[in-house]
Amino acid sequence: MKDRKRRYEIFSFYDYTGIEKHLEKMAKKGWMLEKISALGWVYRKIEPAKLKFTVCYFSKSSEFDSGLTNDEITFHEFCEHTGWKLAASRAQIHIFYNENQDSVPIETDAAVKVENMHKAMKKSYLPAYLVLFGIAVLNSAMFISRAFSDPLRILADTTSLFGGFVWLLVFIVCIAEIGGYYIWRNKAKKKAEQGEFATTRGCRNIQIFTLFAVGIGCLYWLSTLLFKGTWFTQVIMLVMIAYMIALLVSVNGIKVLLKKAKASRGVNRTVTFASSFILSFIMLTVIGVSLVKFANNIKPDERGRILTGTISQNLESPPLTAQDLYDVSMDEYISERTGNESFFAVQFTSRQYPKEVDLPSLEYTVTTVKTPFLYDLCREQLVGRNHDEMLDGKVVYANHYEKVDAPYLEASEVYRWYRDDGYINRYLLVYQDSFVEITFDAEPTEAQMIIVEQKLSVI
């Protein structure tokens, strides 16, 4: 039988009661905590024992220390004097156990404990959560503003949806953790005035739920990319995943190496922070430049096609081509197609432009909304799209959709783009659960519009 076991434990950073109870249960089952690392908590096999555990927050500790500092050793010796032996420590958290159930507790003054704990929390856990919270707010805000300006694209794109979803959850976890700590702290301070100790109840359920949700979301996202994605989209996904892993491993590696080289706390902290900024900057620049180069160098295949996105059926055989409207041959065209699909919507864009200059080009996007409650929002955003230039409350340059009459079409509404002082050949057709935006080179005839409707309103 194995004598070591690794577990991924989820606890709120301040939830000492939860951690203590958990470790006491583990010891009863014959597992003693030995190490807390970024890759989980390691337990050692022991004779099952009834032990008492205490979690201490020691403000003089640092994540960047190469070994135990003199202060820490003194503190541990103090605790050992009353029978408390160190099980494991990480950054400011030190966990002790005691075989004697009636031993003097490590903390005998509730007020001192609460204040001491806060001093330790201010050192790394609270700032870390605050920074994460800031990033989550920024990313969530960016996602929401994008979702409102172009809801259909976001709704159909699993990558955007997954990204937004993850940041929203991070946002919730940060609020739960920081808020949970301060609520506990207030309660504990009041209790301490009466000389009583407060217990903690962490936000473990929120964290577990979040991890579970992120896991499911991640699986869904990866499976759409793997099974439905075009190779171009898969390459981008792989590069981004590789980037995140490389950054995490290298920054952590630098920290560990510096610890091994016995670098001082300050040196380690500075170098680790600086390297994470510099590395992410360099890596993102390299990735960005090479992806642009890569995208620019993509040549149409032998049939003149460039396919991207995550749905395949329409990519292979688009519902409408320039051939359907004009007397042209596909050989004379380059076709760019991209399509995405999620729970909420399917979006497919086709762009056809001639290899020679004097043939008509054609571009359209068909979006089908799969969730009825989002339909109105999408319709309003599409119809209301407005780039008018205003001066003193007056329109000086019109640039928007205007409703037009097209009784020969079955679409419930037809809009045409109005720019400056006239219509251009861009149309928006509104159907019961889908939208078609199409741009022609020249004004289409009624017959051509009917073909468009026949081909595109049914997908």
């Binding site: 507790p105 490590i106 903390e107 005998t108 007020a111």
Partner: protein, 106 residues
């Protein structure tokens, strides 16, 4: 709440300071307090560690010698004054008790 002013002392603070009338290793206080009080008062190791830091910061005790990691402390004038204040406060409390209940009630 950190009793930075140490206007009044908790029982644990009082006894920790009392132990430091004579030069004493920090860790020894953990045993001396229960011995002195017949086990009525105990100080936890973490609490004592923090209190010693706070006493040092407030100039109530000072370090006398360092042997490896073991540190010796002794009460300063200021610390002695605070103990005295606390003693007088407790005495005043006891005296008030006597006024209310009379000597025979003891």
């Amino acid at each position: 709440m950190a009793r930075e002013k140490f206007k009044t002392l908790t029982e644990q603070m009082f006894y920790a300071l009392l132990c430091l009338k004579e030069e004493c290793y920090g860790m020894d206080i953990l045993d001396r307090v229960p011995a002195m009080t017949n086990g009525r008062v105990t100080i936890g190791s973490g609490t004592l560690y923090t209190l010693l830091e706070q006493f040092l910061d407030a100039g109530m005790i000072e370090e006398t010698k360092v042997e490896g990691r073991k540190r010796c402390y002794i009460l300063t004038k200021r610390g002695k004054q605070m103990l005295l204040n606390e003693y007088e406060r407790i005495c005043a409390q006891a005296a008030d008790f006597r006024v209310v209940f009379g000597e025979e009630e003891e």
